[in-house]
Symmetry: C2
Subunit: 401 residues, 2 copies
């Protein structure tokens, strides 16, 4: 059983963080964050697939194309540095350079993240003026400050940590993320930073990608992706433990711990979904492949009609089945079965008499699982979604540029 605690990015050995007010946000809240490891950390990263990519995303990709270790990440909130053209790129590069100079690091050892309004260039004077305070404040006790300083419309900070005892010593994982709409292009969007003192092999990226797909990419608040989405894992090896030196069982436990932490962080984003009143797991099983299961689960999880029904606490199987049918995946409709938790509502593609009272009770829960079985194979996938409420419309209609 994995025990997830509330430590954040500084929980693993050798990581330091800070968070300050640089005056980027008009609200006066924390808006500049820094994560630092003296020992260069192996860096694994995934970025938004949006065709319109913010300057920090373009900069980070450029850096990582030629470097696989990183010492620092600087993140500002309140301004996404997106749709800012060449000036945006220059500013992102300059932000990294400011950190490298301040911390006496080599060139291309720092990544940049930005989140906030689109279409405005960064207030570089303010950032420039704040760098020395930001660096001075670095401490291994500042996970929470870091978590706060990367937030925008989030109503809660999102952190998590796991420690694991192995025969080679203790290893630790920590992380923090932000986002309260899957996409919120004017307050763009999902940023996630994971740290570990475990030493990971160079080729860990493909594994990390799979984990991102089943955690951060398996949640949906409003079904889109932003210009700034970023998920970065830093492994600085300061535990002295190398993944490949562990026993097979311990390796599995370590991978599992990392994945559970990522899922834990991702689910906090759904919990904090704009206007969300409940979180529902949409599981699709009995599929021919995991990709098809995921495609159907996403189709259901992003359907406005399904999400309205979740809000209305209505176990509306018709909308779920129709969304599955509209997913583009081919399956025999007459084999479908559907459960709300352990109550079956559809069998062989047709409704069955269900325990109405129990069903109504489940639909009222803050968290529950809906499971659609295609009966065509043995693959499955889950997507975590939230409901579509009046509050969501209010938040997103009343925000004006």
């Amino acid at each position: 059983m994995i025990n997830i605690e509330n430590g954040g990015v500084c929980f693993p050995k050798g990581f330091f963080a800070s968070g300050i007010k640089a005056g980027i946000k008009t609200s006066g809240n924390l808006d500049l964050a820094l994560l630092y490891s003296k020992e260069p950390a192996r860096c694994f990263a995934t970025f938004t697939k949006n065709q319109v990519q913010a300057a920090p995303v373009l900069y980070d990709k450029e850096v990582l194309a030629n470097h696989n270790t990183i010492n620092a990440i600087i993140v500002n909130s309140g301004n996404a540095n997106a749709c800012t053209g060449k000036q945006g790129y220059v500013d992102a590069a300059y932000m990294a350079e400011l950190v490298e100079k301040e911390l006496d690091l080599g060139k291309f050892s720092t990544l940049v993240g930005s989140t906030g309004v689109i279409g405005h260039t960064l207030p570089m004077k303010k950032i420039n003026a704040a760098i020395s305070e930001l660096a001075k404040k670095l401490s291994n006790k500042n996970s929470e400050l870091f978590a706060k300083a990367i937030c925008t419309t989030d109503t809660i900070i999102k952190t998590g940590s796991i420690s694991l005892q192995t025969a080679k010593g203790e290893i630790r994982f920590g992380g923090s993320c932000k986002g309260s709409g899957m996409i919120h292009p004017n307050m763009a969007t999902m940023l996630a930073y994971i740290t570990t003192d475990l030493k990971l092999p160079e080729d860990f990226l493909s594994e990390f990608r799979v984990m991102v797909n089943e955690s951060f990419n398996a949640i949906t608040v409003d079904g889109d992706m932003s210009t700034n989405d970023t998920c970065i894992l830093l492994a600085n090896g300061q535990s002295g433990v190398f993944l490949s030196d562990l026993s097979i069982t311990e390796q599995s436990n370590a991978r599992n711990a990392l994945f559970e932490l990522m899922k834990h962080l991702a689910l906090q984003i759904v919990n904090d979904g704009e206007g969300a009143t409940k979180r529902v797991e949409i599981e699709v099983c009995g599929a021919r492949s995991k990709a098809e299961a995921m495609q159907i689960a996403k189709s259901i999880a992003t359907s406005n009609l399904v999400k309205c029904a979740l809000f209305g606490e209505d176990p509306n199987w018709g909308r779920i089945i129709s969304s599955a049918g509209a997913s583009g995946v081919i399956f025999p409709a007459e084999k479908l079965s559907l459960h709300f938790e352990d109550v079956q509502v559809v069998k062989d593609g047709m409704p069955v008499r269900a325990a109405q009272e129990k069903l109504a009770q489940i639909a009222k829960q803050k968290e529950y699982k809906v499971s659609l079985d295609l009966h065509t194979g043995d693959s499955k996938a889950s997507v975590y979604t939230c409901d579509l409420s009046y509050e969501y419309v209010k938040i997103n209609a009343e925000y004006t540029t």
Copy 2:
């Protein structure tokens, strides 16, 4: 200039219709409709691509696989005959048979349509008992009764007609459709019936498909497709005019008239979108292909964030560009330009100083056009969408099965 009038399915020569109360709807409203042409009419049809297809869709496809002329279409509202298994198919076939017997027609000369709640078998006794009244009421003055009897949650009936003078005589087009959510699986969904007394060639289906794609498939209320979506064109040739006998110009006019009628009907569905307060054309131009333009336009038109912004009367260019970027189509972000009507808000991928007052005025209009230019080619496509309002959530959250 094409003049669209309010005539319906009986406007072209030789078409008769009726609509009665058979007791299928608990509300007691009209719920059984019949369309009839004594002369067999060439039939062109497109159906939902949803993997879960209602019994009437399965039945019609089966009939049309072997027959290309049709005399009648019977449609019930209040019950979708979807997710009803083998019994559903038997009932659909029996509905057609009842009409064929009553009107003394050959086997497989009648199609069936159903719309309403999912998962309940049809009340066949009631339909059986109503057939003779339904047939007796057939008249060429009943376009409106037909239009009413196919409605579910629609708040307005949707009809249209066009007549055209040609050197060979007058030709006429008429039609009716229903639908107030693009998908509304419990009140499933879009049905459209078009009639013409023009004689059309057997191979007209591919042309008809293109017209459906740019009319009924180019609208979105909530971005999904239902189990019952159907669009049927009947051409009975009673004008005595054959499309191929017309001059090239007249042929173009005839095609144009048919397309404009279909677009007119489709736009009425958007106007009647659940909770909609405004209708917006999302045009994507400068694309490498029409398919790519359509893919981007659909991505924008179905984005909840964009639709909330339309409701909030906020000319939120950031959300529009981000949705375009998330569409899956590859394009250079730095070339994008965006207009709200004739006011430019984005140039070379970056915001430009726009006339704020004029822009605010446009965002307040009941109807307007947003145009995104990719500057990568010369193809374009439009999708017509409506806003996402509190009322939409209310309608779809409060409906309970």
